[in-house]
Amino acid sequence: MKAHYLSAVAAIAFALVVTAALAQNRIGAGQMTNSLAAVSGDTRLDLTASQMRQAALDNIRNFPGNIPPRPLSFPQLENLAQFTVEVDFDFNSAVIKPSSYRTVGSIADALHNPILLGYGFLVIGHTDSVGGREYNIGLSQKRADAIVAALVDPFGVNPAVLQPVGLGEEQLRDPRHPTSGVNRRVQLINVGKKFCFGRTGEQFQCQ
């Protein structure tokens, strides 16, 4: 009798811990907006998406190995307003799982917040270390593309302000556990005011 009672208590306690962990993992649109709005100035970013892709490929060539011996770094991006979320995809595929639909919807809510209108964003996909490094760059690029595609349709984000980039496993979040799920993630970075709006709402480049 007592044992039953204890195991029930243990089960409830476990459920509470799991719920708390899930709640922590679920970052809402408000938090995302705040993270992206902490703009670090209107300095023009001196780094293009294709340069980032090239840097990831160069990192494989310069530092070969099963797991990147040296993580790729972009000091220019480190101080920019950003957040990171986990998005679940079908295995080895760029199809977002229904369990992550809400996360993508929250990103759309955040990007539509009026205070973020007109800013440009990098949408960076990262994988864990399962699979070849070059293959993972391609996979994470397709995943970043898929997130951008969903943000645009059905959620109506202006495609001109989104730039998808796949960095594969070249920037592991937890290099000591390279296959851990925490490495599979999407990073959004505010790269600054990209567009201004004219009197009738037409867009033009600010510079």
Partner: protein, 149 residues
């Protein structure tokens, strides 16, 4: 006789209440997160069955539309509500500058859909703004949005 009349009146009231409720529900749009998670909950099994491997982008809607006759009733119903809410919110957010231009250029000094416009609309009495503009503002979800800085 009298009891019958009261009953009838009550019935009419209940019916009107429901119609009003439906009208009010249709006037609001959901956040994108709320809308799409309702779809995931109601249609998760149908997606796995009929639309496996189909991206969340526009193609998922097309796939669900294409299987409309075989979807579970709850998924079929939710799908319609969810996509209606998403497209109305997106259209309002995209077009609010144009829709509100005539009346707010004078009130707010801008017609661009920017943070300034949203703050100005929030401060302006709805009675001073056209019905179309009020509807777009409501649909955009920005009336209740906390524009943090």
């Amino acid at each position: 006789m009298r009891v019958g009349a009261i009953r009838q009146a009550t019935l009419i009231c209940v019916v009107l209440f429901f119609i009003g409720g439906i009208g009010a529900a249709a006037a609001q749009t959901m956040s994108y997160a709320e809308a799409i998670s309702q779809l995931a909950t109601a249609c998760g099994r149908d997606v796995a069955r009929y639309c496996r491997g189909i991206p969340l982008s526009g193609e998922l809607k097309n796939c669900l539309d294409g299987h409309a006759s075989v979807l579970s009733p709850v998924c079929a119903q939710t799908r319609a509500t969810v996509y209606d809410s998403i497209s109305r919110r997106a259209a309002a957010q995209r077009n609010i500058g144009d829709i509100c231009e005539p009346d707010i250029e004078r009130l707010c000094g801008t017609s661009h859909a920017d943070a300034h416009l949203i703050e100005c609309l929030k401060m302006t009495s709805p009675s001073a703004i056209s019905a179309r503009c009020n509807q777009a503002f409501l649909d955009s979800g920005w009336r209740t949005e906390r524009a943090q800085q």
